[in-house]
């Protein structure tokens, strides 16, 4: 039995089914990310676990206890909201002490725990500051401290980093992960950012249209997408239809399937390549776009466009219109079932 269990959870808003028979478990101490595009139901599931939304069907079990009908205030679950929701009329330390006061903890214990929490999130010196006088990152850390100081059974993070700039976000991702591991706190993190999910998670639950599309470790989900949606949402797979794949490689694919291949697995060279374990084809560079330390080529071979990522090395640059040779490793050409309606690979 898992520490947290969602048993056939359904959530409807009127006629709209937002969660469609969600059924999975979360182990104690894990950081699980609910990943998916906007409107896929990930935040709703988090709110159902928190008690801020009631499920329409199904059960939620926490540490062996059925909490489906338990009010939010009695679940002992901590939550950090997207907008932080710090209380504007209270200082940082008053905000952090609030939950402990609700639990009627002795004042001297509150004082110590608040000081420890402030030190943990590195907000020492900001104890008497009001939320309006804090930066976004500081507010986020104050909200995190407020949620963990009550020693909750589970910590829920609802896109807490979405309003923070990229550099600070990376630093906070690491800090949250460190704190979570230090406390051994079972944590559920909601995000639509696949990079964030890859960096932070023990397990990723990939959501799509109110259902779980795929679950697994970040590496599993990244390297073995089970569907067109998973391949298009995680990473930036080249998705080729059976006709495109045949035109490109001469090989065939089963009916109802397509081929997904990651851009970074494809080798590109000015010289002819010889590799029996790969499909070697000649292509033309359509365009090249630098993306940080990676150079992304869009190539055309036999009328099929696909992308190739290479490390940005100045001695191996190709210009638009150059003829190149590429090798697509056969074992990286994943056959995945097609969706009736599915987004093609996002750039």
């Amino acid at each position: 039995m898992s520490y947290i269990e969602f048993k056939n959870v359904v959530k409807r808003f009127g006629d709209n089914t937002v969660l469609d028979h969600i059924d999975f478990g979360i182990e104690q101490g894990d950081l699980v990310t609910l990943l998916g595009p906007s409107g896929c139901g990930k935040s709703t599931l988090l709110r159902c676990l928190s008690g801020l939304e009631q499920v329409s069907e199904g059960k939620i079990i926490l540490n062996g206890r059925d909490i489906t009908d338990v009010p939010a205030s009695k679940r002992n679950i901590g939550m950090v909201f997207q907008q932080y929701s710090l209380f504007p009329n209270m200082t940082v330390e008053q905000n952090i002490a609030f939950g402990l006061k609700m639990k009627k903890v002795a004042p001297d214990v509150i004082e110590k725990k608040v000081a420890d929490a402030i030190a943990m999130v590195e907000l020492t010196g900001k104890e008497r500051s009001y939320p309006a006088n804090l930066s976004g990152g500081q507010q986020q850390r104050a909200a995190l401290a407020r949620s963990i100081v009550t020693e909750p059974d589970v910590l829920l993070l609802d896109e807490p980093l979405s309003a923070i700039d990229a550099k600070l976000r990376r630093a906070l991702q690491s800090r949250i992960r460190e704190i979570q591991q230090e406390l051994g706190l079972t944590t559920i993190f909601v995000t639509h950012d696949q990079d964030e999910a890859m960096v932070m998670s023990d397990v990723i639950q990939l959501f799509h249209a109110g259902r779980i599309e795929q679950a697994g470790s970040p590496v599993q989900v990244y390297t073995n997408p089970v569907s067109e949606f998973a391949a298009s949402f995680i990473g930036s797979y080249n998705l080729l239809t059976a006709d495109e794949f045949r035109a490109l490689t001469g090989d065939t694919v089963d009916d109802g399937h397509m081929v997904a291949i990651r851009p970074e697995t494809i080798a590109v060279s000015a010289e002819p390549l010889v590799d029996d374990a790969a499909y070697v084809v000649e292509a033309t560079v359509v365009r090249n776009v630098p993306r940080g330390n990676v150079l992304r080529y869009t190539l055309d071979a036999s009328g099929v466009e696909f992308r190739v990522d290479t490390l940005f090395r100045s001695f191996h640059l190709f210009d638009d219109g150059d003829r190149v040779f590429v090798a697509l490793p056969k074992h990286d050409c994943l056959r995945i079932p097609m969706e009736a309606v599915g987004a093609r690979t996002a750039a």
């Binding site: 205030s73 002992n76 909201f81 504007p88 009329n89 609030f98 939950g99 609700m102």
Partner: protein, 274 residues
């Protein structure tokens, strides 16, 4: 010259223009008051300049117990009606914010109705509905306080609603709930302290409206519970100088209450910043 340096003088120009505009508007609004004040300090004003400086009007007014009683009654009317409205609205808005957000539209509709009611219609409606019912509602004083409670409803509702929206009250209650707090306690301990400024400002507006009302007080209570406007009406025929003095006093009392509320608001903001 860079675009930035070009924009700087334009900003100063706009600021000066705004100041001039404000000064003109301020002057336009203050002139009638200034003229009334001057008129109340002189025996007659039939030529370009008034003549016969005197404080007689004010001495007469301040030594008149009926005047003080009417000021007191008006303040009681303001205080009671505003406090009742605030209390009722805060309870109703708790239901909207913490229990059923959909009721917000119903609340808005109900609270906007008094905007459409003319004072005469409201007062006659209340009198014809409750007189002779033999209940506590048939008491003229209860009718009067009730009528003012309705009169100020839209103004205080708007103030409270805007303040609640500004702080995202629903989200704050949910955050408090996750920390083990009940919804009602969260509303009282977290939400209300953050909307005090909004409540104060809307109360200020409401008390100005009650202070300036003549129709409701005259129709429902008349001389039984003479407020300052009814007192003014009663003295208008006696002496124009005295009437001017009353208008000046009304203006100063409303101004003093306004200043007090603004001071309270500014102190609250200062404390928040510290």
């Amino acid at each position: 010259m860079s675009a930035h340096s070009k924009s700087a003088p334009r900003g100063k120009k706009t600021s000066l223009g705004a100041k001039i505009f404000l000064a003109v508007v301020g002057l336009y609004l203050l002139v009638p008051f200034a003229v009334t004040f001057i008129y109340s300090l002189f025996v007659e004003w039939t030529d370009i300049l008034p003549s016969g400086f005197t404080l007689r009007n004010y001495i007469e007014l301040f030594s008149n117990a009926t005047f003080w009683a009417s000021i007191g009654r008006t303040l009681v009317l303001c205080l009671v009606s505003v406090v009742i409205t605030i209390a009722l609205l805060l309870l109703a808005m708790y239901v909207v914010v913490a229990i059923n957000r959909k009721l917000g539209n119903v609340m808005q509709f109900v609270c906007m109705i008094p905007y459409a009611l003319q004072g005469v219609i409201l007062s006659i409606g209340i009198i014809s509905l409750y007189t002779g019912t033999g209940t506590v509602l048939s008491n003229r004083m209860v009718m009067l306080f009730g009528a003012y409670t309705i009169l100020v409803l839209p103004y205080i509702y708007q103030g409270i609603r805007n303040a609640l929206n500004a702080i995202d009250a629903e989200m704050l209650i949910q955050a408090a709930e996750m920390l083990g707090c009940s919804r009602f306690r969260a509303y009282v301990q977290v939400v209300l302290p953050n909307i005090v400024s909004g409540i104060l400002v809307s109360s200020l507006l409401a008390q100005s409206i009650v202070f300036g009302d003549f129709v409701l007080a005259n129709n429902i209570a008349g001389t039984n519970y003479q407020n300052i406007q009814v007192f003014l009406q009663a003295n208008m025929d006696k002496s124009s100088g005295l009437s001017s003095a009353i208008v000046v006093i009304i203006f100063l009392v409303v101004g003093a209450v306004t200043a007090l509320v603004l001071k309270l608001q500014s102190s609250a903001r200062k404390t928040e910043k510290e």
